[in-house]
């Protein structure tokens, strides 16, 4: 099943509006999915016997730059039986200075590995995953301030009174 068949399958199942846009340039084409419905789409792609994307290779949070008030998550799925790969994306507008974090539905109930990946995205980019069972920081200390991989992050100069030298 190639990329266009996949697209057709998703449109048949979820309707035309499910695919927001698609990126065909580059070596790996990708689909941008309606962000509120990403978990349903992932579940369908995992369980449909024509796709069986049973392995989540990677989940990465992305901040699209200071000029764009846009943040997103990229999912790299792999199908072990069919030896295929697929890239899905979700993105949304957000306000950098607002204390409420941009939120996406969690996929940790689709693939358990997403649990730690989503915690990492929360930790480093400040993305909230709705429905995540245990959304704590994972790499940084619990009381760290700010989200280092955001493009507007100012490097911390001290932590708990300890000066950080560079």
């Amino acid at each position: 099943m190639d990329f266009n068949d996949l697209k057709r399958l998703l449109i048949e199942k979820f309707g035309e509006e499910i695919i927001v846009s698609e990126q065909q340039e580059g070596l790996q084409p990708s689909l941008t999915i309606q962000s509120e419905r990403i978990a349903e789409v992932c579940l369908e792609l995992r369980d449909n016997e024509k796709t069986y994307f049973d392995f989540l290779s990677c989940l990465s949070g992305v901040d699209y730059g200071i000029e764009q008030q846009k943040i997103g998550v990229v999912y790299h799925l792999a199908s072990i039986p069919y030896k295929k790969q697929l890239t899905l994306k979700v993105e949304r507008e957000f306000d950098r200075n607002s204390p409420t974090l941009p939120s996406f539905p969690t996929v940790s109930n689709v693939w358990r590995t997403a649990d730690w990946h989503e915690r990492e995205a929360y930790d480093l980019l400040g993305i909230d995953f709705e429905g995540h069972p245990d959304l704590r920081r994972i790499l940084l200390p619990d009381d760290w301030e700010g989200y280092p991989l955001r493009k507007d992050y100012k490097t911390a100069t001290e932590y708990k009174g300890i000066k950080i030298d560079y």
Partner: protein
């Protein structure tokens, strides 16, 4: 304080009266680095494991956003520092494919890459096997493995100049060609090493005490493994023949003959600690086979040549077109992935995300160690074979 954090504090502050918290690490020798496991125990039985990571976080992804692609290669060395060559290989492959020069790499360069990667894979597995022995009380295999590993370290130092952190594979080529006499020295090593593996098997693999400690312990069913994103020897030990060297057929692996060992449950059930150990032992043998084939070709049809320049195809400017690219490769520990976002204007990547195999393999630990004994947790953790440099990045 977030609600999740509050939930966590509530959990550890409101234990049942028979439960107790026990901290294992961050300085526990069997955690192979700085990993803290918070155990909620009921006597000797583990009720829950809560891993705390990040003690070795060195901001790999943040650093990548201010370095050019060739400058990032030394940083990848420091992720899985037991198998730096393999990290280099995955990263370099990804950048080459984005630049579109992956088909122009000279075949001698590709074979040298596979050769050093497989040498490094043996070194990494020897550490896994040796330290696994020491984790559960067998001291001799540790010394034997380190003795043999040191030969590999010496050889790779001879080629690259550094003992563990090589920066030897470059985008488009190599740092230098192999030193004169490397192939012969490597052949000697293989001849020396083969009987040593037989000795090791006699000493550890079929040892009664070792089997009693590892068989039927920490069984990882295949569906759980896949759901948790477990890869590499751990996934294969659960009985699935899945190796990216065969699935993706990258580099010159399609031309090389080797088998993919899987766990068969010889001593207990499929996917137990013994199986995970055995898959690594078998993989060492397969790597030896690959090295022999590489040496065969490197001394015959791809012989050393005075005119040969491993830096000939190095790109002047490493500026990939604007695109996203995810590259994956089979590391000794599992699937190492790099996700690149290039904006097409700068030599610096917009974003790099690395998917460390140890990070995902470790995430299954709380699941498979529920209800086991504390002493078995050491056996399970050792069989996962993590490197904290890669878990924390």
């Amino acid at each position: 304080m977030t609600t999740a954090l509050q939930k966590y504090y509530d959990k550890i502050n409101n234990l049942k009266s028979e439960e107790m918290i026990l901290n294992m690490g961050p300085q526990h020798p069997s955690t192979h680095g700085v990993l803290r496991l918070e155990l909620i125990t009921d006597g000797e039985i583990i009720v829950e494991v809560i891993p705390h990571l990040g003690y070795l976080h060195r901001c790999f992804e943040k650093h990548c956003e201010s370095l050019t692609y060739p400058q990032i290669i030394p940083y990848t060395d420091r992720m899985d520092y037991m198998a730096s060559m393999n990290n280099n290989h995955a990263f370099v492959m990804g950048v080459e494919r984005m630049l579109g020069i992956d088909k122009d790499i000279p075949r001698r360069v590709e074979y040298i890459r596979v050769l050093v990667c497989e040498l490094n894979r043996i070194a990494s597995h020897l550490i896994a096997i040796g330290t696994y022995g020491i984790d559960i009380g067998a001291f001799t295999p540790f010394m034997w493995c380190f003795r043999d590993r040191e030969h590999i370290m010496n050889m790779l130092e001879w080629a690259s100049g550094a003992r563990m952190l090589y920066n030897y594979l470059w985008v488009g080529g190599l740092f230098y060609d192999l030193p004169v006499g490397f192939e012969e020295r490597c052949k000697e090593f293989i001849d020396y090493f083969k009987p040593k593996m037989v000795e090791l098997n006699e000493l550890l693999t079929h040892n009664k005490i070792f089997i009693d400690r590892t068989a039927n312990v920490g069984i990882l069913p295949l569906d759980v493994a896949i759901s948790y994103g477990v890869s590499g020897p751990m996934l294969r030990a659960s009985g699935l023949k899945y190796d990216l060297r065969r699935v993706d057929e990258y580099s010159v692996y399609p031309e090389i003959e080797f088998d993919i060992p899987v766990g068969k449950g010889e001593m207990g059930s499929i996917g137990d600690c013994w199986d995970r150990y055995k898959v690594r032992v078998d993989e060492v043998e397969q790597s030896v086979k690959i090295i022999e084939q590489c040496l065969e070709r490197l001394t015959k049809e791809l012989k050393r040549d005075k005119e040969f320049d491993p830096r000939a195809k190095l790109p002047r400017k490493c500026t990939p077109k604007a695109q996203d690219f995810y590259v994956r490769a089979e590391n000794p520990k599992g699937e190492l992935g790099f996700y690149f976002m290039a904006d097409g204007k700068r030599e610096i990547p917009f974003r790099v995300k690395s998917r460390g195999p140890s990070f995902n393999n470790l995430s299954v630990l709380p699941e498979i160690s529920k209800g086991c004994m504390i002493a078995d947790l050491i056996a399970i953790l050792g069989s996962i074979d993590i490197v904290l440099g890669e878990v924390d990045r």
